[in-house]
Structures are given as C-alpha cells and as structure tokens.
C-alpha cells in the first residue's frame, strides 16, 4: 500500500515536474523576432526582407518602426539601427509605422518594471527581470514609454538589418555563382570583384532566400551610421507643415465631435436638454456616453465641423450627478497626506542597515518636508481620435503610445470583433497618449453612426480638466552625518498614488491591487548610488479619486526634487560645497561621478556670478541614463526667477544619434522647467481649477534658458534611454540655485519665493 502510494506520488511529481519543464521551456524559449508580420501586405515593387524592412526596386529601404514618433526622434534613431547592419545609404531610408503585431512588442518596458535597483545583479533580480521581459513578449504589447525604445530595439533591429543584408548577399552570390564569402556590401550595393548590384535589383530574389536566424553583427568599431548625428528623417516635412497628426486625418463623409465630460471624477450624467442644440446648423446627433473604467461620463455632439459641434455643445443644458467625490479639495488632501506621512502603513523599497536606529543614535538629524502638486501633460496637440465603424470592423486613427491597447480597447465600445489601428505622428505624448479614454469614446460614438467616420476632438479645457495627472506627493527626509563629511543615515518616506495601479485599473479593473509593488512610486529614491551606511526608503500608498498616470519621467519627476533638494540642504548643514559634497559621496560610482564632474566643470562651477544670481547642481539616474545639470538662476527684484543657463551632462552609454540626444536633453529640461516654475493642478469642490494655458502656464521663448549638453560616453553595454532622463534634475538644480542666490530653501513645486 505504502509503496503504491509512493509510486503514485512519484508519478505525479514527475508529471508536474515535466509540465514545469515544458511550460518553462515554452515560456522562456527564444522567440522568432525576424518573421514577417501577419499583415504583410507590401506596396507594389517592394520586397520583405524580415518583418522589419522592405526594399523597393529603386533601392529605397522602408523601415517598419515599431514605436511611435512623438518628437523624441525614434523614427530616425531606430531606422539607423537597421541601416547600419544593412549597409545601406541613410539617404535611401523611408520610415513607416509597423502594424500591430506581437512581433514588435516592447518587452523591455515590462522588464524594467520590476521593483529592483537597476544595479542589482542578484539572481533574484535577474530572474524577475527576465521573467517580466518574457511576460512582455508573451503579451506582445507595442508601446512607447519608459525611455525604452532604443534599448528594446537595439538587438532585434540590428539583427533584422544583418539578416536582410545576408539575404541580399545570398541572392547576389547565387546570381553570380560565387561564394558568399567573396561578396561584400557597401552603400546599398553588393560587390564581388568587378561586379556590383544595387539592393533594389536584388530585393525580389533576396526575399526568396531563407531568413538567417543569426547573421553576424558588426563590430561597433566599424559603425558608419550609428553614432552620427544623422538629420532627423521627419524634420523636412515638419519644417513645411506637411506632417500629418491625428487631428489632420480627413476621410470621406467625415463628421466631427466635441464633448463635455462630467467635471467631478467618478460622476455621471443626470439629464441633458438637447432641444436647442439639435436645431443648430450642422448638428447631426447628440450622444450620451456612460462612464467606463477607462473614460468619464460625457455628452458628445456630432456635427459637420468641429466648431458647429462645439457651439452646439455649449448650448446644451447638462446636469451632472457629481457622485461621491463632489467635495474633493486639494487643501484637504494635503492634510490627509500629512497624516499618512506621519502614520500611514508603508511599503519598504530599500532597507540597508538600520536607518531609524542610526538616526535616533545620532541625536542630531537634518529633516525636511518636500511637496509636489498634480500636473497635467498638456500635449500640444489636443486629445483626439477618429473612428469608423463599417462592415463589422472599426478603423481607428489616433496619435497613441500603445497601438496594441487601442486594438484591445476599441473593439467593445465599437461593438465589433476587428479593429484596425492607424498611428499618425503624435503632437506630443509625454505619457498622456498611452491612455485609452478618447479611443473608447470615439469608438462608442462611431458605433452610433455606422458607416460614418467621426473625429472626436477634446477642447483644451477638457484636456486640462480630464487628464491622468502626475501624482501629487509629499515626502519627509531625514539624514544624519557621520562626522567625516559623509552620510551615516538616510530615511526617506513618500506619500502618493500609484500610476501603475491607476493605468491597470483603467485597462483591467480586476487586476489592479494594492498588493502590486509599484516601482515607479519610489524610483529615483530607493536606488541611489550615494554612499550612505544606513538607508531606508518607503512609500505610503494613498487612494484618491484623481486619476494618475505616467508623466514624463514618472516617479523620478518628484523623487529627484526631493532627493537632490534635500541633499543640497545636507551639504550646507555639513558646511560643504554642494558639488564637492556629492562628488565625495560618489567615490564608489565612477560613472555618476564623471557625469557630475563634467556638468560642474563645463558650467564653470565656483566662478563668480553677478549679484542675485546663483548656481545649483543636481544629479539623477533614470531609465538607465545618468544626468547632471547645473542651472544658473537670477532672482529678480520682484522675486520672480529667470533661469539663464543650464549645462547638462549625460551618460546614456553611447549615443545612437548624438544630435537627437542633445535635443532630448533640451526638451526634457524645458518640460521639467515648466513644472518647476509654473505647473500646478489643484482641486476645489470636486473640480480641477485650471483649464487652459492662461491658468496652466508653461515655459515660453522669453523664459527659456540657453541649454548646452555634453555627452559622457561609457560604452554600448550601458545603453540608456534619453526621452525622459533630461527632466528629473532640472527642478532641484533650479531650487538649489535659488538657495545659492538668496539663502531661501524652496521645498515645494512650483518654486515660489515668499
């Protein structure tokens, strides 16, 4: 009896073990990243050479870029990866948006999401990253975010170029009846001895060659394209106003929709009187939209033009049920957060040594409270989407950061089984365009007008008042010095909402949970490289009805302000120069130290400045890149701030396109400076108080500093992102400069002198 049971157990264990091995194999096995997409239609005369490029008979190379162009230069940067290995002339490059297909998934974005320090090389951290990366491949989500595009495409797009090159060489060798080894490639041609054929002449034959699984990649020392400041491929059409955005989509018989959303979060429509609006010129329909987990309750008017739609919308008489959050108020919320800062239950993100005990033992501690408000994205192109329901399918044109999600989320509201996504240029993204609210609304409207394409455009007021906001956050930092110019203990506690939980709740409500340890809430706080013997970093998760989402640099957008502002205070308390103090703490982090030194030296740290002017420095690693900035700030007689000059140093490993990297630093700095000087979303009586640029001011030409960027190279093995890392250091650099100029410490954004 016993032996039978044991045998059964052994068989069961064997089966489970076998299943795990097979399942593990299926899960972890390498996926074919070179195949053609399911929807592999090709324009006449073009031949597919892997799923990432086509070559035309005239020799032009069409690269399918799997990420969305929102100004960050991704169309150019990723096309350069293919061009390098393909050995084609960059002038022959054309770029198009890849179709929605798991082939083009961004697995790195998920891989980056695990709550481990980026420098944690333990087996647990590596397994978690790898597993999450595999989940990313499995889910197959095409998305642009987390400054991951270049890192994620680095291998597959170079491999695609190399495979296509091998196919072209194979075709030429066959035609000439020579050995592959006797052929070489250069500038879009295969050469062998005196013979030479252009890629265009070989493309059709090359497409019949098998796709090699592992064509060799170039030695980086031989790069001709990667590492150059190739002019952006999209600049000429953008310099002529010919670039097409979502808002510019025009279709036969198209109608336009304007909408009003319930001003209170979580509210609903009580009653709408549309009698007047319905008789206004051009008006076709008034449509009530129920709230969904993804989108707010709204009333939309469809008309022959957007102005007619908007005018009729303004003529509606709408009553809302404000719902449970009608009294939401930022001042009250700050009190709630202050209480949570004292007593809330926290998730610990880093705990080395015993910071609380070391602080208690030190007796004297430096302590400060920091605060940042909610922020809107305010993309230049107002939020919009065009949907067309016909023949059982829905076509959607929308500037978006996640076409796979558009495909998933449009089907239900459109009442169709098939969705086709078109992604034109994005008029700014900054994280806002990974949201699906406008897609769901446009699809629901289009369902009510079968056969008619409808373009839904939000007004700027709807955009500012119905964004998913950068979370408001409060922090307390405590520090004890070690008496030798170093830090003995560091205790950083943050209160705020979770962006990942917010987005998950909007896409998959059943999957959102407090158990999710959202790395982004404390990124940039728990992964510091400064020498600190004891350190503890924790985050108290707040629950608020205000929707929060990814805003350029996400958690780093506030943690860098907290950490680098406070560190400046600590330096002054230690009676040390803030640059030298940081530098000393970076003895064990040579890459960071070099970046800091470069920024300080290029900025002329320590050189005399005019009166009422100060220099501030800040360093932040984010998205695998290290950035230091020195801001030179003049405090005017009226206490307003003029940021005159910003010197920026970045180590992103190496730059695929140094010109684009420099522009992304400028872009990130200006975006962060708008938040540092002006940005603030507040709520009163359940409503967002700001509504448009006059009360949500941003940096303009007259208050934009001169920016200079210096690249600090550390090698391709340290490849990092560039879309976001320019943003985090600017607010603390400016705040620290204000302190240098005035002796007044600003611990709250936006920066305002008393």
């Amino acid at each position: 009896m016993k032996s039978r049971l044991r045998r059964r157990l052994l068989i069961a264990a064997g089966l489970v073990g076998g299943a795990l091995v097979v399942g593990g194999y299926l899960f972890y096995r390498p996926r074919d990243r070179l195949r053609l997409p399911a929807d592999a239609a090709a324009p006449p005369g073009e031949a597919w050479l892997t799923g990432w490029l086509r070559i035309g008979a005239d020799g032009h190379v069409s690269v399918l870029v799997p990420r969305q162009e929102m100004g960050q230069g991704v169309y150019t940067g990723l096309a350069m990866l293919v061009a390098e290995e393909l050995d084609c002339d960059p002038a022959s490059l054309r770029v198009e948006q890849a179709p929605v297909d798991p082939l083009y998934a961004n697995a790195t974005m998920l891989g980056d999401g695990v709550p481990f320090r980026p420098d944690d090389a333990s087996w647990m951290a590596r397994l978690a990253r790898h597993t999450q990366y595999k989940v990313g491949e499995l889910l197959g989500i095409q998305a642009t975010g987390g400054s991951t595009s270049t890192r994620d495409a680095w291998l597959p797009m170079r491999r695609a170029g190399a495979a296509a090159r091998a196919m072209l060489v194979g075709a030429a060798a066959e035609r000439w009846k020579v050995l592959v080894a006797d052929c070489r490639t250069e500038g879009g041609r295969v050469l062998s001895g005196e013979r030479s054929l252009g890629y265009g002449e070989l493309a059709a034959e090359a497409a019949r060659q098998p796709i090699p699984a592992s064509a060799p990649l170039k030695d980086p020392a031989r790069y001709l394209v990667i590492g150059t400041s190739l002019p952006r491929l999209d600049v000429p059409e953008k310099a002529e106003g010919k670039a097409g955005f979502g808002l510019d989509v025009r279709l036969p018989g198209m109608r336009f929709a304007a909408l009003a959303q319930c001003p209170a979060f979580g509210g609903s429509l009580k009653r709408v009187d549309a009698s007047k609006a319905k008789s206004m010129p051009g008006v076709q329909q008034v449509i009530e939209l129920e709230a969904t987990p993804t989108s707010a309750a709204a009333v939309a008017v469809v008309a022959d033009g957007w102005w007619h739609a908007k005018r009729a919308l303004d003529a509606l008489s709408i009553e809302w049920n404000d719902g449970p959050h009608a009294k939401l108020d930022t001042a009250a919320q700050r009190e709630t957060y202050a209480a949570l800062l004292d007593k809330g239950e926290a998730t610990v993100y880093e705990d080395v040594g015993n910071a609380p005990a070391a602080l208690a033992a030190a007796g004297q501690a430096i302590e400060a409270r920091y605060e940042v408000p909610y922020l809107a994205h305010a993309t230049m192109e107002p939020i919009n989407a065009t949907a067309w329901v016909k023949d059982g399918r829905c076509e959607v044109w929308v500037g978006n950061q996640a076409p796979t999600l558009v495909q998933w989320m449009a089907a239900k509201p459109a009442g169709v089984g098939e969705v086709r996504v078109h992604t034109p240029y994005l008029g700014g993204g900054f994280g806002r365009r990974s949201e699906m609210d406008v897609v769901v609304q446009a699809a629901a409207i289009a369902k009510r007008l079968p056969g008619v394409p409808v373009q839904l455009i939000w007004s700027r007021e709807e955009d500012i008042q119905h964004d998913v906001y950068r979370p408001m956050a409060l922090a307390r930092l405590r520090c004890a010095l070690d008496g030798a110019g170093g830090i003995r203990a560091w205790y950083h506690r943050i209160v705020g909402q979770s962006c990942t939980q917010g987005l998950t709740g909007r896409l998959l409500p059943w999957a959102a949970s407090d158990a999710m340890k959202d790395k982004t809430t404390a990124e940039g706080a728990f992964d510091l490289v400064y020498a600190m013997a004891h350190r503890r970093v924790e985050h108290v998760l707040a629950h608020q009805p205000v929707p929060v989402g990814f805003w350029r640099s996400v958690g780093h957008s506030y943690t860098a302000f907290f950490v680098e502002g406070f560190l400046d205070e600590v330096a002054h308390a230690a009676k040390r120069d803030p640059y030298e103090f940081r530098r000393a703490l970076l003895a064990g982090a040579p890459r960071h130290r070099r970046v800091l030194e470069t920024a300080a030296q290029k900025a002329g740290w320590g050189a005399p400045l005019p009166p009422r002017t100060g220099r501030g420095i800040a360093l932040a690693e984010s998205f695998h890149s290290i950035v230091a900035q020195v801001a030179e700030v003049e405090v005017r007689e009226d206490k307003s701030l003029r940021v005159k000059r910003v010197v920026c140093a970045i180590d992103c490993g190496k730059a695929v396109n140094p010109g684009i990297v420099a522009r992304q630093m400028e872009s990130g700095i200006v975006y962060g400076l708008s938040a540092a000087l002006y940005g603030e979303i507040t709520l009163k009586e359940g409503r967002v108080e700001q509504s448009n640029f006059p009360d949500y001011e941003v940096v303009r030409m007259a208050d934009c500093p001169a920016v200079e960027t210096h690249l600090v190279e550390s090698g391709w093995e340290h490849l990092g992102g560039v879309g976001e890392p320019g943003t985090p250091p600017i607010a603390p650099a400016v705040a620290n400069a204000v302190f240098a100029a005035t002796g007044e410490r600003l611990r709250k954004l936006p920066l305002r002198l008393a």
Binding site: F245, G305, M380, R460, E666, V670, F693, V698, M701, A702
Partner: protein
C-alpha cells in the same frame, strides 16, 4: 486665401481656424487652445501674425490670408525652412506651422531681430521645448536673408 479667392459657407462669427481646417481642408494650421494663448493656429492676415482660433471669419473677408500651405509665397519662407532644417528645430512638430508663420511675420517687419525682439514676437507655446533651436534658426534665417539681399 494663399493667393486665390475662396468662398466659405460658414457663419460670420466662425473662427478662421475652423474655416481653414474643416471647410477648406487646410489642416496645416493647428488647433491648440482655442483662446489665442498658444499660437499653434498662427496665420498671416494682411501680413500680420494672427491667432486664427479667435479671429472671426467676417474679419478676413476680402483680405489676403496666408497659411503654412501658402507660406512659400512669402519672401522669408525659403530661408526659414532652410534654417529650421539646419538647426533641426522640430520635435513632435505640432506647434511648428504656427512658429514658422510667426517667424515669417517677424522677419518681414524686422529683418535682423535681436534676442529681445524674438522674445517679444515669438510667444507661441512649444511643449517639446524647441525654443533654443527656434531662436538659433531665426538668427540663421535672418543672416541668410541678409546675405541673399
């Protein structure tokens, strides 16, 4: 309208922006804020930089209007376009038609603008932060126009 006469069947008070975009199919001029605060909708009316999102259609009756689609007819355009490419100004590109039209108006009235002149004339919003490049491009375009006579 860009050198040809166009009839628009829209109310007098309709903003010029929507007449351009929805009635005339000229989508180069962008909608940004609707309250003349961001300049994405800048066009030239009688050679003056004008924010078309609040400019009533009736006010342009019989007047020359230039949008980005017809900008080539303005003398500074080629130099501005060249400078925009040389300085690699655009990022997302959405604000650029408005920026370019505002720049053309500036250079037509002031062929050698100082930094302060640029600050005063270019008040459009760019969320990608292309301002330093725009400033450099305006100086470059002004130099090119001067060199070209």
């Amino acid at each position: 309208m860009n050198g040809t006469e166009r009839d628009v069947a829209l109310e007098d008070e309709a903003p010029l922006l929507w007449a351009l975009r929805d009635a005339l199919g000229l989508t180069g001029t962008k909608f940004g804020c609707g309250v003349a605060a961001c300049g994405a909708c800048t066009v030239l009316v009688d050679g003056q930089a004008t924010r078309s999102c609040v400019h009533p259609l009736a006010a342009v009756a019989g007047k020359p209007v230039h949008t980005i689609e017809g900008a080539a007819a303005r003398r500074p355009f080629a130099a501005v376009r060249g400078a925009w490419i040389a300085e690699q100004v655009p990022q997302c590109g959405y604000c650029q038609p408005g920026m370019i039209m505002a720049t053309i108006a500036l250079l037509e009235s002031n062929p050698a603008p100082s930094d302060a002149d640029i600050d005063a004339a270019i008040t459009n919003v760019c969320r990608c932060g292309t301002y330093p490049r725009i400033r450099a491009a305006i100086h470059r375009a002004a130099a090119a126009l001067k060199a070209g006579g």
